[in-house]
Symmetry: C2
Subunit: 245 residues, 2 copies
């Protein structure tokens, strides 16, 4: 099922027509990518809005000397910046982590939504605002949290975001990130990421093995990461907008 619908339904109840519209978004121009492939590069002219249907991707920035920073992860159901085509060129790159299925949503489609699908338009704004909140939290993470807090925090965030789109099973989820990826996302060296993960493991806060993450007690991991889910704005805040079935 389209993970975008799944996610939006957590925020606002959609009408069948709304759902049809979102299904159409996810069946138009759809592309398959291999792992570790760039979808868009810094400097490119932005074209469509990308919607991740399956697989993981990330936004990253890079300095001349090679230092790389992952600035956000795209999980299934995530979209890149709405209205990005207003800008002349990309200020960051987007690349896949795993093989991924990505729909390119053309500008006209978004115009159509804004004109006639107010609930979806609001859900898209919600998505935009949550995206911004996540970026702020990452700044907090990099600026103030210690290595293990930082790692615990990131893992909590990913776990919750995956759960929102139904990609967890109990207290486990697929976890395709390498320790290098985690290093680039947390601003730590990969050696230190390794040691930090071991610390979380010996504290029995996580089990991370063969691309699977298990969180025995989300509560404990959250407390280790000073994690407060408020910034993800996951309660059904848009209920007053519900479509009547």
């Amino acid at each position: 099922m389209n993970p975008l619908i799944r996610k939006f339904e957590k925020f606002v109840r959609l009408s069948p027509i709304d759902r049809g519209m979102l299904t159409r978004a996810a069946t138009g121009r759809v592309r398959q990518y291999g792992p570790r492939i760039d979808i868009a590069r810094e400097g490119d002219q932005p074209k469509d809005v990308h919607l991740i249907l399956s697989g993981w991707a990330c936004r990253y920035k890079q300095l001349e000397d090679g230092r790389r920073q992952i600035v956000s992860f795209f999980l299934p159901g995530d979209m890149c910046d709405l209205n990005i085509f207003i800008l002349k060129e990309m200020d960051h790159s987007i690349g896949t982590i795993t093989p991924a299925t990505i729909a390119d949503v053309p500008r006209e489609f978004l115009d159509e939504i804004n004109a006639g699908f107010p609930r979806i338009a609001t859900a898209l704004w919600w998505e935009t605002l949550v995206g911004a909140a996540i970026q702020r939290e990452w700044i907090m993470n990099l600026g103030q949290r210690t290595a293990s807090e930082r790692m615990a925090h990131l893992l909590c965030e990913i776990f919750l975001r995956l759960r929102l789109v139904g990609l967890t099973e109990g207290n486990s989820c697929e976890f395709p990130l390498t320790q290098s990826d985690l290093a680039e996302a947390t601003g730590l060296s990969k050696v230190h990421v390794n040691r930090t993960l071991q610390e979380l493991r010996t504290g029995e806060l996580i089990v991370l093995k063969s691309k699977t993450l298990t969180v025995p007690s989300l509560k404990h991991l959250m407390s280790a990461g000073l994690f407060h889910a408020n910034y993800l704005h996951m309660e059904r805040e848009g209920s007053h907008l519900d479509a009547n079935e």
Copy 2:
């Protein structure tokens, strides 16, 4: 003059009616605040969109144990998140740094813009996208740049953003941030901020004294901070939207 108009005019040529609308935004509910006053606090219900008319403010987040991170600065002409009232509660706080004049733009006003002022609506989207790009760059800054690169980068950004709204004079600008503010924004300790500033001073990259910043050679400071202005998207990219005078 309304710094918002000034800024938007760098992106798209507005019609006299557009300008009138923006002037109205800046003369409706306007409030004066003293320095170091909270405008909104984490947990509050978001009401209006705030527009900074004069003075400096910032967004910040705080942990239980007191660690504080400034996640963005608001300079004259900046607005807080558009459509923030979609969310149930604030995930961060907003506070002034200097005394400030701030207009509260009500929801209805923004609806009006979206309905009948497409150029302004686009300019607001541009503002939103640039805001997101700045947040990403801060993540890069915190994750990858060394202390002095980081500081140089931040100073470049502030200088350019001030210049965009006409608040620089030659290579100088007012600079009300304390070293503690800089510490909270860069994720460094204030002692290290002090030493980092001294380093930039002895490299003759900045003169910073009595709340005034002078940048003898922006080019050199940019290169010290590995600064690329692309993320600010300052060229007149919206020219195809220009109003015909």
